[in-house]
């Protein structure tokens, strides 16, 4: 700045900056003092912060600060505390029978909550949120169970899985009648028509042809009844679903039923025994059971025709032609 640009404004008594634009001069107005002091206070606070807290990146890590504050360590500690807090409940879950869990609202709530979170992390990918299932992946919320819906059945399925490679896995295999040329195309068509007559929902939607169904009835008795039963109510011991109910694993349309007879599809569920401890498996079983389809452990009633009301009385296994007969294909 040139020497003689200093100028005192008469009105305010303040110095101007010496800048002038079209006759307008700028006052050299100082910052408000409260603002300035706040600014200095912030600088001081920052210096204090450097000393106390992690602040400066270094070539090899960073300055730790004398408080040694670490969010990572805090989270680790919190997680540990959480596990410690949950431990007693899991202990109780280990010790309790399912009956005790059901009769202890607090424990049941804990089991359900723990199960829900595990379900979300591990099961939801296939079975869907809330166990709603989708084509090829059975719904866990309905009253249809391929392998049984009591707490013990559910627990066992979780432990060993289905076609999982586990030595105790639940196993079933429906023959691929079309792919392996076990039946002719005409026979498959007839069998399809017959199967469509069995389920109320399929009957209503697909209007199966009566003459074809009549021909298919014989084929069914020959090829399918061994697993699905002469009355097509299925057999839980073999994981063979009932074909007489309204729930279909792969869909109850003509196309899907036919495709199932042709290909004999069957899904795989992993064994979870090694992933979860006993308490966790129980929590998961309680959650799945509580989705709505759980069956009472009481003396299993004899297979009833589908259409009986209420929660899952029928041992009708799910959904359509999924897993069926054991190894030997359709040996009559």
């Amino acid at each position: 700045m040139a020497e003689d640009t200093r100028e005192i404004d008469a009105e305010t008594g303040r110095q101007t900056t010496g800048h002038e634009w079209d006759g307008i001069k700028e006052l050299d107005t100082p910052l408000p003092r409260w603002w300035l002091y706040l600014f200095y206070a912030c600088i001081a606070a920052a210096v204090v912060y450097w000393v106390l807290m992690p602040a400066w990146p270094m070539a090899n890590g960073y300055t730790q600060g004398i408080l040694h504050f670490s969010d990572r360590a805090n989270v680790a500690r919190d997680v540990e505390a959480l596990h410690a807090a949950r431990a007693p409940s899991f202990e109780r879950l280990h010790a309790a029978s399912y009956e005790q869990i059901a009769n202890d609202p607090q424990l049941a709530e804990f089991a359900r909550a723990a199960g829900e979170s595990m379900f979300g992390d591990n099961c939801q990918t296939c079975h869907g949120a809330g166990g709603g299932g989708r084509s090829g992946y059975p719904s866990l919320a309905d009253d249809v169970w391929l392998w049984g819906g009591t707490l013990d059945d559910i627990e066992h399925t979780i432990r060993v899985g289905i076609r999982s490679g586990h030595e105790g896995a639940r196993l079933s295999q429906m023959p691929a009648y079309g792919r392996d040329n076990l039946l002719t195309r005409q026979q498959i068509s007839d069998a399809t028509e017959y199967v469509l007559t069995l389920s109320p929902v399929a009957r209503a939607n697909e209007h199966p042809s009566a003459p074809a169904a009549a021909r298919g009835a014989g084929i069914f008795q020959e090829q399918c009844a061994a697993c699905h039963g002469a009355d097509a109510h299925g057999d839980r011991a073999q994981g063979a679903p009932s074909l007489t109910d309204n729930v279909w694993l792969y869909g109850g349309t003509r196309t899907e039923v036919r495709r199932q007879i042709e290909q004999g599809r069957g899904g795989v569920m992993p064994s979870w025994e090694r992933r979860f401890d006993d308490g966790q498996v129980r929590a998961l079983a309680v959650y799945v059971y509580s989705l709505g389809g759980g069956e009472a452990a009481a003396p299993a009633p004899a297979p009833q025709p589908a259409g009986a009301t209420g929660t899952a009385v029928t041992p009708t296994a799910t959904t359509a032609p999924a897993p069926a007969a054991p190894q030997t294909p359709a040996a009559p």
Binding site: E11, T12, G130, A141, D143, S242, A306, T309, T314
Partner: protein, 495 residues
């Protein structure tokens, strides 16, 4: 004082006059100006007494309330007024509010707003002058200041005096006392949020949480600065209410008014002199000296004026001494200035459309809130339908929907309740871990003063169609108190 303006030498006038200048007088206004310190003189009179009374009552309410005990049985806190953030409850004597009932607080805030409108329309800014915490604590701080340093003249002398042992002692004592009051204020504040006796013990034994010390410290700081060092600047520069007051005050609202018609022309007066051809104002400036805002009420209505009436007291005292009628400065309506000028009789209209409207709104909200509070449900439920899966088709073709039901029991006892369903033919209820009664209801115990969550499934032979409206009904098996919650039952679209 600004230092820029000096009072002209004044003729002798019986010693009533005082060297006081309004901080916002036209002569003292500058673009850049440091705050001119104000040394309010002690006033004596009706309004000063009223202010003392208001101060004592309001401070007593503030400091004492957290210590009032209230028996709520073994499960509840025994503090009459408690904001329990951790437990998510607000206790006020016999009332216990849950977070979702925060609308009562909203109602209270609306009442407060309408109340301040109403009081402004009737009596001007009496809230500012008597009840505002800023005013009350400032008054208390000035009282302490006066106690230690003396009244106006002594305080001004002390301020001008060079530093000495006496000055240092007085200043230290004042600030120490101020800080003590500030700490007590911050302390009392935290007592509203926890058990007061426990907190007090913890604070003094150093075992209270960091947050407690933080808030005590914060409020100590704000009380000390706002009431001790900032004072009238808070009202003039920080508070929005002075800006709003213009909209609330009309020509009929009372405000502290200098009766220009009676006072002018002002001039000093000597005993025995004639009052002919002059006003009653003897220009003694006592009204300026007592003003905690440092203004001259004779300049008319001002942003800074908090309507506290201390200038009225000061002026009345002088008027009595010079043997003129009181009320040269008084609570008066603007309308009356005009009416006097026109030679009309003064009139005070407290009942007018504005005040009626404010009054009606105030009463309506108060009645609505009281009604809601008296008829407050202590038992209710929420029902949230599962979103995934939206519905489940069962083997026999029936449809099942799942609902997460939250039972809200606001009483401090376990209550046996029954949940039933209305509006869906053939529906059957089931809940994991609970029996379904023969008449198709779920019976369970609702936890005391808590939310009980259960998952209820509803199964019905429902055909495909649009969502079907249903309602969950909860009933206390003992008292018969019932609650209801609408929901829908979904059976899905195709297949």
């Amino acid at each position: 004082m600004t230092g820029k303006t000096t009072l002209l030498p004044r003729p002798q006038d019986d010693g009533h006059a005082i060297d006081a200048e309004a901080v916002n007088s036209a002569a003292a206004r500058a673009l850049y100006k440091k705050r001119a310190p104000i040394y309010p003189k002690l006033a004596h009179g009706r309004f000063r007494t009223l202010k003392w009374a208001a101060m004592i009552v309001l401070l007593a309410i503030y400091y004492v309330t957290p210590w009032i005990r209230w028996d709520r049985g073994p499960m509840g806190p025994d503090q009459a007024v408690l904001v329990d953030f951790a437990g998510r409850r607000f206790y006020f004597f016999f009332i216990e509010l849950w977070p979702q009932e925060v609308y009562y607080i909203t109602g209270l805030l609306i009442l407060a707003a309408v109340g301040i409108f109403l009081s402004s329309a009737l009596f001007g800014r009496v809230w500012c002058g008597y009840a505002c915490p800023q005013t009350v604590w400032t008054d208390l701080y000035i009282y302490v200041e006066r106690l230690i340093e003396g009244d106006r003249a002594a305080r001004m002398r002390l301020a001008k005096a060079p530093m000495s042992a006496e000055k240092l002692g007085k200043k230290s004592a004042k600030h120490a006392l101020w800080l003590l009051i500030a700490a007590a204020t911050g302390g009392a504040w935290v007592f509203y949020f926890g058990d007061a006796p426990t907190l007090l013990r913890e604070i003094f034994t150093g075992t209270a949480s960091v947050e407690i010390y933080l808030f005590v410290g914060l409020l100590t700081f704000t009380t000390y600065t706002l009431a001790g060092t900032m004072r009238e600047q808070v009202c003039t520069y920080m508070c929005p209410w002075p800006r709003i007051q213009a909209a609330m005050i009309d020509k009929d609202a009372l405000s502290v008014t200098y009766r220009r018609d009676r006072g002018e022309p002002r001039a000093p007066h000597k005993k025995g002199q004639s009052w002919d051809g002059r006003g009653d104002c003897i220009d003694c400036r006592q009204c300026v000296a007592v003003c905690p805002q440092g203004i001259d009420i004779r300049d008319g209505d001002q942003l800074e004026c908090i309507n506290c009436g201390l200038c009225i007291d000061a002026c009345d005292e002088i008027m009595a001494k010079v043997d003129r009628p009181k009320g040269l400065i008084a609570y008066d309506a603007h309308e009356n200035r005009l009416r006097r000028a026109l030679g009309l009789k003064t009139r005070y209209r407290f009942v007018r459309p504005r005040t009626i409207l404010y009054g009606v709104i105030f009463a309506a909200i108060a009645v609505a809130m009281s009604y809601a509070l008296i008829n407050r449900q202590t038992l209710s439920l929420d029902a949230m339908r599962d979103r995934s899966p939206p519905y489940v088709r069962l083997a026999n073709g029936d449809v099942r929907n799942g609902y997460t039901v939250r039972i809200i029991n606001k009483e401090r006892r376990i209550r046996p309740v029954e949940i039933s369903l209305h509006g869906l033919d053939g529906a059957r209820l089931a809940a994991f871990g609970h029996e379904t009664t023969p008449d198709n209801a779920i019976a369970l115990d609702a936890r005391a003063d808590a939310v009980t969550t259960i998952r209820i499934t509803v199964t019905a032979p429902q055909q495909v169609g649009p969502p079907h409206p249903i309602a969950f009904v909860i009933e206390d098996a003992g008292t018969g108190e019932a609650g209801r919650r609408e929901a829908v039952f979904v059976a899905g679209g195709a297949r």
